[in-house]
């Protein structure tokens, strides 16, 4: 019996109907170290040209929160080069000259919203070029741990002036107006797995002693890592670029400050302190005044909107009679529940729940208009709780408006690939707190942890002084208020080594934190994380300042200064490298390709890009009842509500394939899921819908190939293999249509499932499907 591992079977399909799809970028591997205060990452991109002409690849990705590019190394056949950090205009000139000369040229440039284009040009036919890109990034701080998030896909976002549509190859396409966004290139979004590069990760996570580590986004295997950390790897051979990687640690001591310190490469002491909110005393819990701001734009359709509604309802439950609340819905339009704040009486709460329950998804994401209306309702110095997927472009403008309105915006981000960076900035800049939840996470627990911090300030006028540390300074300015559930964080620097104390004081309290700056390599990482945070904060200040304006020039100078101090890129500074190779042919124009990416796993392609086939079906003249029946029965057509097969596909896309260990029950459910999907697809007989939703099936078959021990007992291994191969070739012929899965589905849905009956039903299904119902004994 042959084992299928290595490259033969992987979690992503790169073979289209007409033979192999030519990928410019083959795969992406995220490596590096994640500390409780930030991460130092190296992303490896492998580019390969299978064209007859030289290739220029553009890979567009989103930076994580508080992140900046540090440098890259580019390697290939007999060459290796390092990037240089240059003012963006100069870097672009260098890149263009390199392209013109026929040399291998690479440029990494960051635009608004942290969207970055990595350009690699003049890759020769058959040549493989690898780019190792180093990134410093921040983490989301919790009282009892931290949360790290890295985007593997750039979620399609909303902008009132964006053009979007479907390209000839069926991929989604968005162009942003050049006068606001420059010449940024966004990826093409593929509805299915075909033609997508593989992604993977292998990280060293410095989880605090005794803390629990969870990965709600991917199956992982965890082992011992470097420096006492944990090595966290993707458990499967590869995955799709359709969601963020999320790692979270929980359960570290929530009552003690943590301090990290060391000396950076230039000999300067660097330290960071994370002080859990519990250190600042007990909360007083004054009456809350809060407006819930719920995003129900088209991109929220499906799992996200359900999660968002559940989040708002959980908060409504948590209100006390003395609290006052309001609700504002927004998409392209803004709609309040009532024009003013209401007391949290049982009648008002019940009406509010009904109001939220009836919300449906549609329209654009006019976040600024929503925030404006909610801020008007609550007044200055009020609290807003924004629940959104944050999928908008144009964060600069939005941040400027939020700063002007004066309300605190607490953000609950929802979605598998959302704009974490923008929402983190939105919360921080307005003095609020923020949290992010993925599609498989418990919304109620997450939002209540966040909601506790809304309104109640544990400590005000927080100040800091240092004793014993030479020339100590802190940057950025730490928060002057502490909220429940959200630690107080400080990044600082001092001259050289030494022991000292940080004296943190606030109205009615104080705390001394000992700091020991010793010879630790942590110093360089702390410096980069601190620098990345400063770069992000400065970058977020551009607002709507026109290019060349005084404000823009001042900020550009500041970014250049930060760049030379910390060695980090920004929108003002880019990374460039040109490698001259023997035989470079000047003047030849390379073929330019944009790397495609996957749709976020919890978002429907149609919610962004629409489906032209919707309209052609509408054109049939019929009676109203018949139209409705016809449309809801037609595969690939989406009306107001989601069809059953779509639910099923989404459902199984979100179905967690376990890592190293799994229960028998999970294993059976994987098989049932596979069986149900096979029959669905066979019954639908529609290539379009199959292509769009093939990903979960492919994931399941790849998983099953690796776990022969899960194959149903009593079915010949050869038959199962044939079945899996059929599915992978998308050969759903009549056999699968006649196999009945109703019994299976009923058994799988029952809790607890009857294991024996389920096993028998599965064995029957696999035997029938693989041999044909007539042959089954």
């Amino acid at each position: 019996m042959t084992r299928h591992d290595g490259d033969e079977v992987s979690g992503f399909g790169v073979y289209g109907k007409g033979g192999p799809v030519k990928l410019g970028m083959q795969d992406l591997l995220l490596t590096g170290t994640v500390l409780p205060v930030g991460a130092r990452l190296v992303v490896r991109h492998v580019f390969r040209s299978e064209e007859k002409k030289p290739l220029e690849m553009i890979y567009a990705f989103a930076l994580p929160r508080d992140a900046a590019l540090r440098r890259f190394r580019i390697t290939g056949d007999r060459f290796e080069a390092e990037s240089e950090l240059r003012p963006t205009a100069k870097a672009r000139e260098t890149y263009e000259r390199g392209i013109e000369r026929g040399s291998l040229s690479a440029l990494a440039q960051t635009y608004q919203d942290g969207v970055t284009n990595l350009n690699v040009g003049n890759i020769r036919p058959g040549e493989t070029v690898t780019v190792f890109l180093e990134i410093a990034a921040g983490v989301e701080f919790h009282d009892d741990g931290f949360r790290f998030r890295f985007p593997f896909t750039l979620a399609p976002g909303y902008h009132a002036r964006a053009a979007c549509g479907v390209a000839d190859d069926g991929a989604g396409e968005i162009s942003l107006p050049e006068e606001l966004f420059g010449d940024v290139v966004l990826p093409r979004w593929k509805a299915d797995a075909e033609g997508l590069h593989g992604v993977s990760f292998d990280l060293n996570v410095a989880a605090p002693q005794g803390a629990e580590l969870v990965c709600p986004s991917h199956p992982v295997s965890v082992g011992a890592g470097a420096d006492g950390g944990l090595r966290v790897r993707l458990a499967t051979a590869g995955d799709l670029p359709n969601r963020d990687v999320v790692l979270e640690t929980r359960g570290s001591a929530a009552e003690r400050p943590s301090v990290f310190a060391g000396v950076d490469g230039a000999g300067r002491g660097r330290f960071a302190a994370v002080v859990p909110s519990g250190c600042f005393g007990r909360p007083e819990r004054p009456a809350k005044r809060v407006v819930f701001l719920l995003d129900h734009s088209g991109s929220m359709d499906g799992v996200r909107l359900e999660q968002a509604k559940a989040a708002v309802c959980a908060c409504l439950e948590a209100l006390r009679p003395e609290d006052r609340f309001g609700i504002v819905l927004f998409e392209s339009r803004v709609r309040p529940f009532r024009p003013e704040l209401l007391p949290a009486t049982p009648e008002n709460l019940s009406a509010a729940r009904a109001f939220v329950g009836a919300v449906e998804a549609a329209g654009g994401t006019e976040l600024a208009a929503g925030v404006g209306a909610a801020a008007k309702m609550i007044g200055k110095d009020g609290d807003l709780l924004l629940v959104t997927d944050g999928e908008v472009f144009g964060g600069d403008d939005l941040l400027a408006r939020v700063r002007a309105c004066g309300a605190r915006v607490h953000c609950l981000g929802i979605g598998s690939a959302s704009q974490d960076r923008m929402l983190a900035l939105l919360a921080r800049e307005s003095g609020g707190v923020g949290r992010f939840l993925g599609p498989r996470e418990d919304v109620a627990a997450g939002v209540l942890a966040l909601f506790r911090g809304v309104g109640a300030v544990l400590a005000a006028n927080v100040r800091c002084a240092a004793k014993g540390l030479k020339q100590a300074e802190w940057l950025p300015e730490p928060a002057d208020a502490v909220r429940e559930g959200q630690p107080w964080v400080l990044f600082g620097a001092c001259d050289g080594l030494g022991d000292g104390t940080l004296s943190v004081t606030w109205d009615g309290g104080g705390l001394d934190i000992p700091v020991r700056v010793g010879e630790s390599p942590l110093g360089e990482a702390l410096k980069l994380v601190q620098g990345a945070r400063l770069v992000t904060d400065t970058d977020a200040l551009f607002g709507d300042a026109p290019e060349g304006s005084r404000k823009a020039q001042r900020l550009t100078r500041r970014l250049e200064a930060l760049g030379s101090e910390y060695g980090l890129a920004s929108r003002a500074l880019s990374l460039v490298s040109v490698v001259r190779r023997a035989g470079d042919r000047p003047g030849e124009v390379p073929e330019t390709r944009v790397v495609a990416t996957g749709m976020p796993g919890d978002a429907a392609f149609n919610a962004y890009f629409g489906d032209p086939s919707d309209l052609s079906v509408c054109a049939t003249p019929m009676m109203p009842g018949a139209i409705r029946a016809c449309l809801s029965a037609a595969p690939g057509v989406r009306m107001r509500h989601v069809s059953a097969d779509f639910c099923l596909c989404e459902d199984s896309a979100a179905f967690p394939l376990p890592g190293g260990r799994f229960s028998a029950r999970t294993a059976r459910l994987v098989l049932v899921r596979l069986a149900t999907l096979i029959v669905r697809f066979a019954a639908l007989q529609d290539g379009g819908i199959l292509n769009r939703h093939f990903t979960p099936l492919r994931r399941i078959t790849a998983f099953l190939r690796r776990h022969e021990d899960l194959w149903p007992v009593g079915v010949p291994a050869e038959a199962v293999r044939r079945l899996l191969a059929d599915v992978e070739r998308r050969a759903f012929d009549s056999v699968y249509r006649t196999v009945d899965t109703a019994a299976l589905a009923a058994l799988a849905a029952a809790t607890p499932p009857d294991e024996d009956a389920l096993r028998a039903a599965l064995a029957r299904f696999f035997r029938e499907a693989a041999c044909g119902p007539g042959d089954a004994p």
Partner: protein, 140 residues
């Protein structure tokens, strides 16, 4: 074409205001013809400059690259497509009821389109309900 009117990519980028990388992308996407000669002496002519102006104008009207290309392909034979481009847009016709047809211009954002479609569905329901004298079996 006269030699002196020819320009290299950098010059085309400067004169058109479109960055060189974007021009290469347009060529690869089929919006713009390739250079006049292949290889070392690649050069571009006034035709390229004019085309770039047209692409910009179409993008300014909110078209994606693919939509712009479709318009340009449709208007290829037209001697002055820049002025005529709005007429090159594609219209979809939807029969909402016997004898009733709605035309929708292509190029709306999908979200806008969804809202429009909802309105059209509603319209279709009303038109048909009127025609049926209340025998509406449309309870979902």
């Amino acid at each position: 074409m006269a030699k002196q009117q020819e320009m290299r990519l950098a010059e085309l980028a400067e004169r058109s205001g479109v960055p060189a990388r974007t021009i290469r992308l347009y060529i690869s996407e089929g919006l713009l013809p390739g250079p006049l000669r292949a290889g070392r002496n690649a050069a571009y002519g006034p035709e390229h400059l004019r085309r770039l102006g047209e692409i910009r104008a179409l993008q300014g009207r909110g078209l994606t690259l693919s939509q712009a290309r479709r318009v340009l392909e449709g208007a290829g034979a037209d001697p002055s497509p820049a002025a005529e481009a709005p007429e090159g847009a594609v219209w979809r016709e939807l029969d909402v009821a016997p004898g009733v047809r709605v035309s929708v211009k292509e190029g709306f954002s999908p979200r806008r389109m969804r809202a429009l479609r909802r309105a059209i569905e509603e319209f279709s329901r009303q038109v048909n309900a009127g025609a049926q004298e209340g025998s509406d079996d449309d309870q979902a």
